[in-house]
């Protein structure tokens, strides 16, 4: 086998391709390698409006050792590498902007260990929310689930600051990581958290404190610093009683204050703040038809709570009722009901929202789905202005005003998000969505909203507006860990 060192410009590109191909096959085996056009095409785009870009190779390793070899080789040959897992991607984050090798991790799908005493599970990247849910159903513990199809990777979502139905209590998912095993761009294997001392003992991955927290070298870096091959994620006891209440209201400011009041009581697992269009979309109203009608409730809050005893349940319900009475004083037509009633009114699909992880078919069946997902300040003025600003823009571009937001970590910050269906079949619609996203990003950023799972084009703009010292630090870290810039190049505006 020829050896390819550096980016050898003397070699014809086809010869370089053959050398890389030969090397990758040697590492993973022919069965788990592909450079067929149809395979490359499928890895070149996702469901969002982000522009496609083709990889040149796809490999499906099974072990950390294979990934070490792949990255070592890619680093020597300066070949870009993009980690990929379930195919259920957003934000264009796995679109290979600079080509190279897609490392599809779905074969690494084992739940390696469950430590009941310290309440964590060690998983591989291919483990999905659905599989973790099925595993934990046999125990007295639960994980958290996003408003996404069940076959989304837990590790990917945790690394990308995903939010879900325990985020009010615990924040975004990266806060629940005890530790990781990761492969650096030079092929080195590192362990972060207590596992740095006792990595071979899965029973000792119990925290990432008290030591310098190096997890930040991997979270929200969008695969630019290495490939995470194992992760210990925290789980929580499942309480025997769980219930939901729905509040339908008319006044945005008062509804948001009601949300804030409830979060300060510290009695809920989760609180969603949605527009009526979101409920209609979930209920199955076809694309383009999920609209607010004059006279109907404008806002919908979903309150998720649980209890260990009937007494605790009743006390929580009493506190919810009291808060609602106060809302009613200022928003007299507001109504509180339960999901059964909502199901009768809007149809069975609405009930899916309590059975996460679920696939909300009506959200996913028009070829295109995207969102402007941000984390922002909880200040009432910012949130209310944000909604108004976003609604005006969505109207301008003729999409649906599906607000899906939630309070995070006891209302320390707010997840402010708009779910946007669009049709990839309709001429010009993808481009129209790109323009809307651009305007949404600019307007919301000005209001203090910071996008998460940030598409490359917005990340570039953030870098221009961010403190130069922060940007320099970011670049220094990146160039130190990945001097040849092989890991998911082009993300975060960094080459």
């Amino acid at each position: 086998m020829k050896k390819l060192v550096g980016c050898d410009k003397l070699l014809e590109s086809s010869e370089k391709h053959d050398i890389i191909k030969e090397s990758l096959i040697k590492i993973v085996g022919e069965q788990w390698y592909s450079d067929f056009p149809e395979e490359l095409l499928i890895y070149s785009y996702d469901m969002t409006e982000n522009d496609p870009s083709l990889p040149e190779f796809v490999v499906m390793p099974r072990t950390s050792e294979e990934i070490q070899k792949i990255l070592k080789f890619a680093n020597e040959t300066k070949t870009p590498v993009v980690p990929f897992i379930s195919g259920n991607n957003v934000g264009g984050l796995t679109i290979p902007l600079k080509g190279g090798i897609v490392v599809d991790l779905k074969r690494m799908d084992s739940i390696l260990h469950f430590n009941e005493d310290d309440m964590y599970v060690i998983i591989e990247p291919g483990v999905t929310f659905g599989h973790l849910h099925a595993f934990l159903e046999k125990t007295n513990y639960r994980y958290c689930y996003p408003f996404a199809p069940p076959f989304t990777s837990v590790i990917a979502n945790a690394l990308l600051d995903g939010l879900n139905n325990l985020s009010l209590r615990h924040g975004s998912m990266n806060e629940w990581i005890n530790g990781i095993e990761a492969i650096l761009p030079n092929g080195d294997l590192v362990k972060i958290g207590t596992c740095c001392a006792w990595g071979d003992n899965y029973d000792l991955w119990w925290s990432r404190n008290p030591m310098p927290d190096l997890l930040g070298l991997f979270t929200s870096w969008q695969g630019m610093t290495g490939i995470v091959t194992k992760m210990a994620v925290q789980v929580w006891p499942r309480r025997p009683i769980r219930d939901w209440r729905i509040v339908l209201s008319f006044n945005v400011e008062e509804t948001y204050k009601f949300v804030k009041t409830l979060t300060h009581l510290e009695i809920l697992n989760d609180i969603l703040f949605m527009s009526i269009e979101t409920v209609k979309m979930i209920a199955g109203v076809p694309y383009g038809k999920a609209k607010y009608l004059e006279g109907e409730p404008r806002w919908v809050c979903l309150l998720d709570f649980s209890a260990n005893t009937k007494l605790e349940y009743e006390a929580k319900l009493d506190m919810i009722n009291t808060a609602f009475k106060k809302l009613k004083e200022v928003d007299p037509k507001a109504n509180m009901t339960n999901l059964d009633v909502m199901e009768k009114f809007y149809g069975k699909k609405v009930g899916d929202i309590k059975n996460l992880p679920v696939t909300i078919g009506p959200m996913l069946e028009y070829g295109g789905l995207t969102w402007m997902g941000t984390y922002m300040t909880t200040k009432t003025e910012a949130v209310v202005n944000g909604i108004k600003t976003a609604f005006d823009l969505i109207d301008k571009y003729r999409f649906e005003k599906c607000l899906y937001s939630r309070s995070m970590k006891g209302h320390h910050y707010f997840a402010f998000r708009f779910l946007l269906r669009f049709s990839k079949l309709q001429e010009g619609e993808t481009e129209r969505m790109q323009k809307l996203q651009e305007e949404l990003f600019n307007s919301l950023f000005e209001l203090g909203a910071f996008p998460y799972k940030t598409p490359a084009r917005f990340a570039k703009q953030i870098l221009k507006r961010a403190d130069p010292n922060w940007v320099n630090l970011l670049k220094t870290i990146k160039s130190t860990i990945d001097p040849n810039g092989i890991m998911n190049p082009g993300r975060w505006g960094l080459e």
């Binding site: 095409l41 989304t152 696939t359 996913l364 069946e365 070829g367 079949l425």
Partner: protein, 393 residues
């Protein structure tokens, strides 16, 4: 976006459905159970092999981003068309997923890239002998040599035997007529039955299909038949679901699977059973009978009527049943993989300590028995008609 559509391409009919798929992955596993649902995905793992991947291949072809190739042929024919994806997918195109795959296959054939070599032999043989097994048409009812099948020109009920039971799994044909005889049914069997068309439709070889359908319908009408019964899940699916797409001349002809037909006798308590000892049986839902035709309870009603038979279910049953691996041309095109798929099913039946694995399809019988042999399993396979015939008087 530059859609490259031509009126002759079968996938053009499904453009809207193709663009429904966001590749959310829900088709890959049993919904909210999380066991694998797609045999091709489990085996090959690359995105293209999953149902959503095949849909996106169709999209790539429509958009002109990829060209037909042998590799694409291998991917789209690597699917037993078990339709498990149509159950698990939660989007509005779910019911059309198998149709899209079959349309891709039809396009592959029309463009000279398909079918797989062993599948092409079906068409050659059907053209020559009206069966895909290269057997003589004149031998079609050789299986009935020592059986008392009614010799008459006309009857209201036709037992449509199907090629697999006529030539390969003859026991199913023999036991079916023995049951019909015991029940005193006035039926007829025809020596001029032709292949129902299933192996050709499933593999995109549509050239002869209309001719086969016309012949079989002419035959059915010439015999004065009002009800066609079949013991083959593949024939049943084709007669009941595909024939209406090709012709409007079915004129109220009723198509019944043998288990539907027998259930009528069971509900009227017209079956007389021998006394028997207890034994544990599990039922494998044939894809063509279950997910394709929504027949789940009738076979179970037949089994539950048998004294001493304890019906136990495998974890994946009814609409979530794991495919046997024989369908969609996979048994011919991917011989070893077909048996691998069936071996998973045998393992599942063993796990629940079933003594007998039963089903209602000669194709399932072939492949599951092959897997029993391959894995040296102690489990015994009997088709439902073989099982029933042993215990009724």
């Amino acid at each position: 976006m530059g859609l490259r559509m031509s009126e002759t391409e079968a996938i053009n009919k499904y453009v809207e459905e193709i663009y429904c798929c966001t590749r959310c992955g829900t088709c890959k596993y049993i919904y909210q159970v999380y066991d694998p649902s797609c045999p091709a995905g489990v085996k090959f793992r690359f995105e293209t092999f999953y149902p959503s991947g095949k849909i996106h291949i169709a999209r790539g072809l429509i958009e002109g981003k990829i060209e037909w190739s042998e590799r694409i042929r291998d991917i789209i024919f690597a699917c037993p068309t078990c339709a498990n994806c149509t159950i698990q997918c939660q989007s509005r195109h779910h019911a059309q997923i198998v149709e899209i795959i079959e349309a891709l296959r039809a396009d592959a054939v029309s463009k000279g890239f398909g079918p797989l070599p062993n599948q092409k032999a079906f068409a050659d043989s059907v053209k020559k002998e009206h069966n895909p097994y290269k057997e003589k048409h004149s031998d079609r009812i050789k299986w009935a040599k020592n059986l008392a099948i009614p010799q008459k020109d006309k009857a209201e009920i036709l037992y449509f035997v199907g090629c697999t039971s006529s030539y390969r799994q003859q026991s199913l044909a023999q036991k079916t007529v023995e049951i019909l005889n015991k029940l005193g049914v006035d039926y007829i069997v025809s020596s001029d039955e032709w292949c129902c068309g299933s192996p050709l439709i499933r593999t995109g070889q549509l050239e002869q299909v209309s001719q086969l359908i016309n012949h079989n319908l002419d035959l059915i009408k010439s015999l004065g038949v009002k009800t066609v019964i079949t013991s083959c899940a593949g024939c049943y699916r084709t007669l009941k679901m595909d024939y209406p797409k090709y012709t409007d001349k079915l004129d109220g002809i009723e198509f019944l699977h043998i288990t539907e037909f027998l259930q009528q006798f069971i509900s009227k308590k017209k079956l007389k059973f021998k006394k028997g000892k207890e034994f544990k049986v599990t039922y494998h839902d044939p894809c063509h009978l279950g997910r394709h035709s929504n027949i789940y309870e009738e076979p179970r009603a037949v089994l539950n009527a048998i004294p001493g038979l304890k019906l136990i279910e495998m974890p994946r049953n009814r609409e979530n049943a794991w495919c046997c691996g024989a369908g969609g041309g996979v048994k011919a095109g991917y011989k070893e993989w077909a048996v691998e798929i069936a071996s998973d099913r045998i393992h599942e039946a063993e796990q629940i300590n079933a003594e007998i694995l039963t089903s209602a399809c000669p194709f399932c019988k072939t492949n599951l028995q092959d897997a029993i042999n391959e894995t040296n399993s102690n489990i015994k396979f009997m088709d439902i008609v073989e099982l029933l015939n042993e215990v009724i008087i």
